[in-house]
């Protein structure tokens, strides 16, 4: 970590201001309490405080090499005690040497300087302690910030990985069954086979590309889901109908990509696959105050006994919504007699 007193302008400015304040206090004491002459006051304050200002900046290096990660507490304490003595000693010696050179003829002042050496030494130790303490605070604070940042980064990565694992995946059986339908149509109705091939391709293409994106427009999602239903329609013929009631205002709103798809797949799987009667799948999108409400409902045969795999698709959507919007109850399921209904609330 580089020296923040040099690197960071703001810290340097504050540091400078503090030293100016110390210099002024120093001057006031000399001028008002000790009745020193103004030029001596000015020069002494300037020499001593400017000197420590420079020393203080370089103390950063003694601190950054004396961290708890490297040395034991006693070792650090001893290192700093030695450094404090050397720094203060050096400081009072240079100050004393320069001032006594400037005011060489003024014996009284030189005596004053000499007699105050002990006190100045103590002040030097005090400055040392304060600066070192501040340096440590800066180091730990920066480390802490970095840690928080890294943690946040890690969380974001985990979240992304989770979202990826919850992403919709094309059901391979759907693909194979569709291919089988195409294979059948090539014998009986080649034009329809071609049409279905194109629909299947478009669906696969948009599903694969959508999975890269986190969100897309509702209208795009509906189009993709319709492609899916069209393909299933070829397979199941008259076994289901699709009705949509979509408020125009909703169409441009963004929703997490590929959340409609699994709902339709669910309706097909538990409604159409399991029933001998005709199934009606209904999509309703209506804007609400804070949410976009999306409802997918289908009738089903209440006699049919659920098989495994029910609810995994819905559970995945629930988890995805929870991660994306940080909200728990954005999906609910209603089961009335022979109607199965899923409501999703997308925050606007």
């Amino acid at each position: 970590m580089s020296n923040p007193f040099i690197k960071n302008k703001k810290i340097f400015l504050i540091y400078l201001l503090i030293w100016i304040a110390i210099g002024l206090i120093h001057s006031s004491i000399l001028f008002f309490m000790l009745d020193q002459e103004i030029e001596k006051v000015f020069l002494e304050s300037l020499i001593y405080n400017f000197l420590y200002l420079l020393l203080g900046i370089s103390l950063w290096y003694t601190v950054s090499y004396n961290t708890l990660e490297v040395y034991s507490t006693t070792k650090i304490f001893l290192n700093h005690a030695a450094a404090a003595i050397i720094t203060s000693g050096f400081w009072i010696f240079i100050g004393y040497y320069l001032l006594s050179k400037v005011f060489e003829s003024d014996l009284a002042y030189k005596t004053f300087l000499f007699n105050s050496l002990a006190l100045r030494f103590m002040i030097g130790i005090f400055f040392y302690s304060v600066i070192v303490a501040v340096d440590y605070v800066i180091i730990y604070y920066t480390n802490f910030q970095q840690k928080l940042f890294r943690e946040a980064e890690l969380n974001a990565l985990v979240k992304e990985a989770e979202l990826k694992s919850l992403k919709y995946q094309i059901n391979p059986h759907f693909i194979f069954n569709s291919l089988n339908s195409i294979s059948s149509l090539t014998l009986s109705d080649p034009a329809k086979a071609q049409d279905m091939t194109i629909k299947l391709s478009s669906f696969l293409r948009s599903t694969l590309s959508k999975n890269e994106k986190q969100k897309s427009k509702l209208s795009e999602e509906i189009n993709n889901a319709k492609l899916y239903l069209d393909i299933e329609k070829v397979r199941f013929g008259d076994k289901f109908d699709f009705i949509e009631e979509i408020n125009e205002a909703c169409k441009e709103l963004e929703i997490p990509s590929m959340i409609l798809q699994p709902l339709f797949e669910n309706a097909i799987k538990h409604g159409v696959y399991e029933s001998l009667e005709k199934i009606v799948i209904k999509l309703i999108c209506e804007p609400q105050k804070e949410f976009l409400k999306i409802t997918v409902e289908n009738n089903f045969d209440p006699e049919s006994v659920p098989r495994k795999g029910e609810g995994i698709g819905i559970k995945n959507i629930q988890n995805r919504l929870k991660i994306i919007y940080n909200h728990d109850n954005l999906i609910n399921i209603e089961r009335q007699k022979n109607i199965f209904r899923v409501n999703i609330y997308i925050p606007r």
Partner: protein
């Protein structure tokens, strides 16, 4: 061989049936007598028409192809046609002659068909032998989720959760459930192996009980216990049964 082979196609998708139909058309030995789009219809048609050969899809409304087979007394030669490859092993356990993965070619289809035709013309016991061999390697499978039964021409699907207990009755097992009592041609051993051991326990040679149906266990006389179910029925518990119960409830 002058007699044609009576064949039925069972698949819930018309287009899938069409492929099989068009592949079959090229073979003069085949007499297509019926098509079914669900398992219930299939049970009826097979019993009525007594086909020699069926093409059977697995995933169908109401009951699966496998469940349908359980309801037929003398199953014909079976060729499975499905998009699911995870059922292949199970298919051979039920004596399937072949297993066609959708979509399949005419060549692959013909291969399966000639195998079937050969078996039919032999009408030998060889399939049965293979079957018994396969049964031995039958691996531990996922627990049952429902049981399909047929009584007086009516087919019922019983969810496992509705079952209270099972009682052995000679070659059959009587299933007591909240939907009523049903007789199923299976062994106790089958149910012991295929019911989820977390939910069910065999307390006696003749009884398997759903654990959450047990209300109390009491000592009858020395080393002889009985359990009372929530519905009030009382069933005997064998010594090993009691050991197992003790393990669960402790």
């Amino acid at each position: 061989m002058t007699k044609k082979i009576k064949t039925i196609i069972i698949d819930d998708e018309k287009l899938a049936r069409d492929v099989v139909k068009s592949y079959l058309r090229k073979n003069s030995e085949i007499d297509l007598v019926g098509e079914c789009s669900d398992g219930f219809d299939a049970v009826k048609k097979i019993n009525d028409l007594k086909p020699d050969l069926i093409f059977l899809d697995i995933q169908m409304p109401k009951i699966t192809g496998f469940e349908m087979l359980e309801l037929i007394e003398n199953p014909p030669i079976i060729i499975f046609t499905t998009a699911f490859d995870q059922y292949a092993l199970k298919a051979f356990e039920v004596n399937a002659t072949d297993y066609l993965l959708k979509p399949f070619t005419q060549e692959r289809f013909n291969e399966a068909l000639s195998k079937a035709i050969m078996l039919i013309s032999e009408k030998s016991t060889s399939t049965k032998k293979i079957a018994s061999l396969v049964k031995h390697v039958e691996s531990k499978k996922e627990p049952l989720e429902r049981v399909v039964v047929k009584m007086n021409q009516k087919i019922s699907v019983i969810p496992i959760d509705d079952i209270h207990y099972l009682e052995s009755q000679d070659d059959y097992v009587m299933i007591y459930s909240s939907k009523g009592n049903f007789l199923k041609q299976k062994t106790m051993k089958f149910f012991e192996e295929h019911l989820n051991p977390i939910q069910f326990i065999r307390v006696h040679r003749s009884y398997i009980v759903k654990i959450d149906q047990i209300k109390q266990i009491e000592l009858l006389e020395k080393e002889s216990y009985k359990i009372t179910l929530i519905k009030g029925n009382q069933l005997p518990v064998s010594k090993t049964g009691y050991q197992k119960l003790k393990e669960i409830f402790n």
